[in-house]
């Protein structure tokens, strides 16, 4: 064994200490990993938005071609012509989101805290509908809400439809082809997107917190209000976003379950793009929708104070 040696400060360095730089190859690793995926998103997500922006300020016709003429008037025209559809989109999507939260929370709570050994089965049942194409399932609502269906008969007998008709949600004894049918379809379609994030954040809550709250004189209702709900906020925020964003641009439910009076902005964009072929108007509409949604989402996230959504 040689004797251990130590010099506290490095001895008079014979030469200047060489600073070792991490190799260039090592430093570039993250960029190589990011490159393909980011290129994909830039070319097929960001670039298209630029093209769309340019399309929205073009004028011309399908036959003669479109030219960029900085014609911002299109935005104003599109908005003034289709503002009812915008209002409807936001109203329907907002209502559906609220309904999803009201309906989804008890189920997520049930699965997280009360299901015991049934938990996995219930989770499967929440996810299982996904495996049948959502279009097929949405068509099933046509049967469920048909004029002579059991559901409508029951609602009629309970005079529920009298109230909803008075509110303008349904028309007479009909449910199909009314705003209520569209909202009902939207709610149905996006419920799993609400329940899963809710469940995830509820499941993380330590059950002992409930006991602690009750030990500290909180009633079950207060426990929920002061402990459980605040702790589930991340789930509430991401659930509402995952519901509201796609719902606001949806046109399938309005098309299949609604009527011409329930058209949403998605329907307009779809028909302008694919049938009328008025690209500038369609592009402008799509940009307005995007702007509205992004602004609302940003404000909402700021208010809710949760940054870690994804």
């Amino acid at each position: 064994m040689s004797t251990p040696t130590l010099t506290k400060e490095a001895p008079q360095p014979v030469e200047e200490p060489v600073l070792r730089k991490p190799s260039t190859r090592k430093r570039l690793v993250p960029y190589w990993l990011l490159l393909p995926g980011i290129i994909w998103l830039v070319v097929f997500f960001a670039l298209p938005l630029v093209y769309q922006a340019s399309t929205s300020i073009q004028t011309g016709s399908l036959e003669q071609g479109f030219q960029v003429t900085w014609h911002f008037q299109t935005y104003w025209d599109a908005f003034t012509e289709y503002w009812p559809q915008f209002v409807r989109s936001l109203l329907y999507a907002g209502t559906a989101t609220l309904l999803c939260l009201l309906l989804g929370y008890p189920l997520a709570y049930l699965i997280a805290f009360k299901a015991g050994r049934w938990r996995n089965l219930l989770l499967v049942l929440v996810i299982a509908p996904f495996f049948t194409s959502f279009l097929i399932r949405t068509l099933a609502w046509k049967t469920i809400l048909a004029d002579d269906s059991v559901v409508v008969d029951v609602l009629n007998a309970l005079h529920v439809l009298d109230v909803t008709s008075w509110l303008g949600w349904t028309e007479g004894e009909r449910v199909l082809a009314t705003p209520m049918a569209v909202v009902c379809g939207l709610t149905y379609n996006f419920l799993p997107f609400m329940i899963l994030p809710l469940y995830t954040s509820l499941e993380r809550i330590d059950g002992r917190l409930h006991e602690a709250a009750q030990d500290l004189y909180a009633s079950p209702a207060t426990t929920f209000r002061k402990v459980t709900f605040p702790l589930s906020m991340p789930g509430v925020v991401s659930g509402t976003l995952l519901t509201f964003i796609p719902a606001s641009g949806d046109y399938v439910n309005a098309e299949l379950l609604g009527s011409t009076d329930t058209k949403m902005v998605g329907n307009v964009i779809q028909s302008q793009f694919l049938r009328v072929l008025d690209y500038p108007t369609a592009a402008a509409l799509s940009f307005i929708l995007m702007a509205i949604v992004l602004v609302m989402v940003t404000v909402y996230i700021r208010k809710a104070g949760t940054e870690d959504l994804v």
């Binding site: 690793v29 993250p30 960029y31 990993l33 990011l34 393909p36 995926g37 980011i38 994909w40 998103l41 097929f44 997500f45 960001a46 298209p48 938005l49 093209y51 399309t55 309906l103 989804g104 008890p106 189920l107 997520a108 049930l110 049942l125 299982a128 509908p129 996904f130 495996f131 049948t132 194409s133 279009l135 097929i136 399932r137 068509l139 099933a140 609502w141 046509k142 049967t143 469920i144 002579d148 149905y188 419920l191 976003l241 796609p246 949806d250 998605g266 964009i269 779809q270 793009f273 694919l274 690209y279 592009a283 799509s286 940009f287 929708l289 995007m290 949604v293 992004l294 989402v297 994804v310």
Partner: protein, 264 residues
């Protein structure tokens, strides 16, 4: 009354569940219907005709197979690109992290119809012919963010010491990735794959804009809603539902057994 109040959450939860399951039951029941006319919306009488001849409708099974292929390729594409991004985000420091994070978050925060329309503008401007490839490009694009999110969550919870231990024990970078990183990240990657497959297979809006004359299964259903809904649609929907539930149940049984033998 007290019983009701005590179990209010359970009752409300189960009602929601019923609301979510009801359409699937209707789809299943109406797969045994024999409708009068072209639309399968009201019950007439019991029949096994559609089950006996699931591909009896022109073009339907072709569209189904197309959708499956599309979903498979979109999953592979999104998985490769997304896993790479997820690893870079969690494991490395680099410039422009904020910008890259937003680029990944934005597709999820944008109504589908906006992405669909803008992508169509790109293809039209570039003069690219719409079809299988444009749809595949679109599907990889919107699945990517979801894969990144799923894989990232898993990689973040991984102990980086495990990889250091592998390198310490004579495993080079490739060996470390294959023998340690990948197996441990597998659940996250599998979750991402499942999500990508489901999203792609069931996508309608983006496909509708960018498919041209290519008909995926959701496009076929959409078209039939206008032209007349064949009972076979319900057969396919029911079969997929039952298959998926069976697969989940089987998986559950297998993991339970493994757990039992492991502890025995």
């Amino acid at each position: 009354m007290r019983w009701i109040r005590r179990n209010l959450v359970v009752i409300a939860g189960l009602l929601t569940l019923a609301y979510m399951i009801l359409p699937n039951i209707v789809v299943m029941v109406f797969s045994f219907n024999k409708p009068n006319g072209r639309f399968n919306y009201s019950w007439q009488r019991f029949s096994l005709d559609a089950w006996k001849d699931p591909c009896g409708v022109a073009d339907m099974c072709e569209s189904l197979s197309l959708s499956l292929q599309l979903a498979a390729w979109a999953t592979v594409g999104a998985l490769v690109l997304g896993t790479m991004i997820a690893f870079a985000l969690v494991r490395y420091r680099f410039r422009a992290r904020g910008a890259i994070n937003s680029l990944i978050f934005l597709p999820m925060a944008m109504p589908e119809v906006v992405m669909a329309a803008s992508l169509l503008t790109l293809f039209l401007n570039m003069g690219i012919e719409l079809g299988f490839w444009t749809v595949l490009i679109a599907h990889i694009m919107f699945c990517l963010s979801f894969v990144v999110t799923a894989v990232k969550a898993r990689v973040m919870s991984m102990d980086p010491r495990l990889e250091e231990a592998a390198r310490d024990l004579y495993a080079g970078p490739v060996q470390t990735f294959l023998r340690v990183t990948l197996p441990i990240a597998a659940p996250g990657i599998a979750a991402g794959a499942l999500l990508a497959f489901a999203l792609s297979f069931d996508d309608f809006i983006i496909t509708n804009f960018n498919a041209g004359s290519t008909v995926t299964f959701p496009m076929f259903v959409w078209g039939s809603a206008q032209r007349g809904t064949p009972v076979q649609i319900n057969v396919i929907g029911t079969a997929m539902f039952v298959l998926a539930v069976l697969m989940v149940v089987a998986g559950q049984i297998i993991t339970n057994r493994r757990k039992k033998t492991a502890t025995a």
